[in-house]
Assembly symmetry: C2
Amino acid sequence: MLSVEEARARILAPLKPTPAEIVSLAAAFGRVSAEPISARRTQPPADVSAMDGFALRAIDGREGARLTVIGSAPAGHPFAGRVGPGETVRVFTGSIMPDGADAVLLQEDATDDGASVAVGETVASGRHIRRAGQDFAEGEPLIPAGKRLTARDIGLAAAANHPWIAVHRAPRVAILATGDEIALPGEIPPPGGIVSSNAHALEALVRAAGGEAILLPIVRDDVTATAEAVQAARGMDLLVTTGGASVGRYDLVQAGLEQLGFVLDFWKIAMRPGKPLMAGRVGEVPILGLPGNPVSAMVCAILFLLPALGRLAGQEGAAPANEEARLGAAVAANDARADHLRARLSRDGAGRLVATAFPRQDSSLMRLLAEADALILRPPHAPALPADAVVPVIRLDRLGI
Amino acid sequence: MLSVEEARARILAPLKPTPAEIVSLAAAFGRVSAEPISARRTQPPADVSAMDGFALRAIDGREGARLTVIGSAPAGHPFAGRVGPGETVRVFTGSIMPDGADAVLLQEDATDDGASVAVGETVASGRHIRRAGQDFAEGEPLIPAGKRLTARDIGLAAAANHPWIAVHRAPRVAILATGDEIALPGEIPPPGGIVSSNAHALEALVRAAGGEAILLPIVRDDVTATAEAVQAARGMDLLVTTGGASVGRYDLVQAGLEQLGFVLDFWKIAMRPGKPLMAGRVGEVPILGLPGNPVSAMVCAILFLLPALGRLAGQEGAAPANEEARLGAAVAANDARADHLRARLSRDGAGRLVATAFPRQDSSLMRLLAEADALILRPPHAPALPADAVVPVIRLDRLGI
């Protein structure tokens, strides 16, 4: 059986970033930049006052001096004249510094009678002035390609005068749930059947990762129906199946896929929950086959689908970030399969992160998965650990899923 | 001047959660539940096999025994008969346990010739069986009200057979940028003017927090135009203004608002960046007036607007979570204003989080804000600290903005 790391590398290897599309600035939030974003203007465009006050020649700004107010330069209305000896102009934060002035007398250091101003504190040349281009200059690269754009990036791109942004097209992911026993939410399941939940959780996960999800109708355990459903995934960036990867099922799905020229890179992964997992390709469409068990499906989606979506969206496709936490309770030694214990997080008296695995780790417990804050990572053959030992965790509360 | 904490409490106090609306399961992802979500069915609906194998009577399952295979129970097709002495039924993970059977012989412990099965390992009664209701029973509460629904919650709600979910309506936020000097991205700013960036960054932030943003046209520095623009915010859950809160500007915006019966709860806050901030209400619409400076606006949005959106969306509206980090470089003593130093995060040799403040902290530097991973929190009058001292940080890389 492959390790989690090997499996992830093999899933990611054939995936290519989606091509670029142009979207409006507002639509670029959360998308991945397809090109570097450079400054289309200089910011500030000229030397500006950093404070509310009075612009003057530093040489005139000795404590006790009195200057004549010759005008005002509110933001958007630069002063058209020139500040000469003994003169000053009212300025505000962001006001363009008037010609001739090289210093700013702070408002709180000025006594202003409207026509003239008394200097209460000697000024220094250049002080309280923001220089042209202090933030960025025209032509400078501001945001690299391959960055998921934050609200702050959107603000920066706006300030740099970009109404349009080239981003990677959102990865299009078809989701296919298979099985005779499942029904859509709100419908009446067959006798002994269950309600389909994986496809809906995966749709949310794909959207959270910036992808577009298409939910295909449920496919029954039938070769022809499976083949027809997979046809619907043509042109998608990824087909995710759920169910059909375990013994007795797999042959069926595989037979359906083989009618379409399925190239299999199948494996079982040395992990729990989630051993049965398959990867391959039909024509141009990569396929990731997740387990039918809901907890296994979601854990596999976190470990493999999230990186795959990242890679498709134009990023590296790194594994979910780990953090360190202290065990709230002892854990047993691990066997040959990497384990991912559903856990609650808390803080100890010293403010350190504590992860406590739920006593029940059965992979059928969706409710505990939903309540979990983290997965405690237990490598293959990891030794038993006492409470307070330090372990790596994946913080589910931070993944946005 | 108010402290950050007092200001936040005063901003949150009048805010009420939006009423509930009904959305489809898929649309409920990322929304806040307005009612507890309870199980509409029992999961598993009956005792089911936890493994692939053979269902039998435990009393028959001694090593070396041979049993007659009387049928198969693939998922979705329960076995209709009853398992009698010396009999067994093929089962798969999730198969309903046939009547009469109380144990599962694992597939890897069975030697199967199609008609009969040899027991390779003695079975135990009840082992490898998931009991009816082990995950949840009909009527049990699964997800509390006031929870932002994760992908895992969507899966759980699906499994519990909910096609529709009652969630708080997304808070509707009008964003109003003011100023004679600003132009929309892509337009040519007036002489000495700049491109509007706050409104676009705030729109993204509102969307990231689950709100719906409406960008009002830019309002020039004019009392009547301001009053008319604010009218457009009627029926919104919040009006956010940017600019117009500093000296010389404030009177203008306030005059515009007063024509509409503005109730002012104005203050300056003892913080940097971001001192000028106003809060109040026009009619039923709460107003949050952010500074015009882009870095100040975004820091204030993180400290005040995010909690406000949380409160409107049906949550508590807590301050952004702090984490602890070690200083990568010494910081100076702080004055009377709480400081929020833009910083980079890294890890030290021991894997601990390190926050290093940018040497330049001028609030005009949008580019450094976009590059920052965190804000180092410096309380009023905090002493100088050496490198390696532990400080609280807000992780911007974790806020999704």
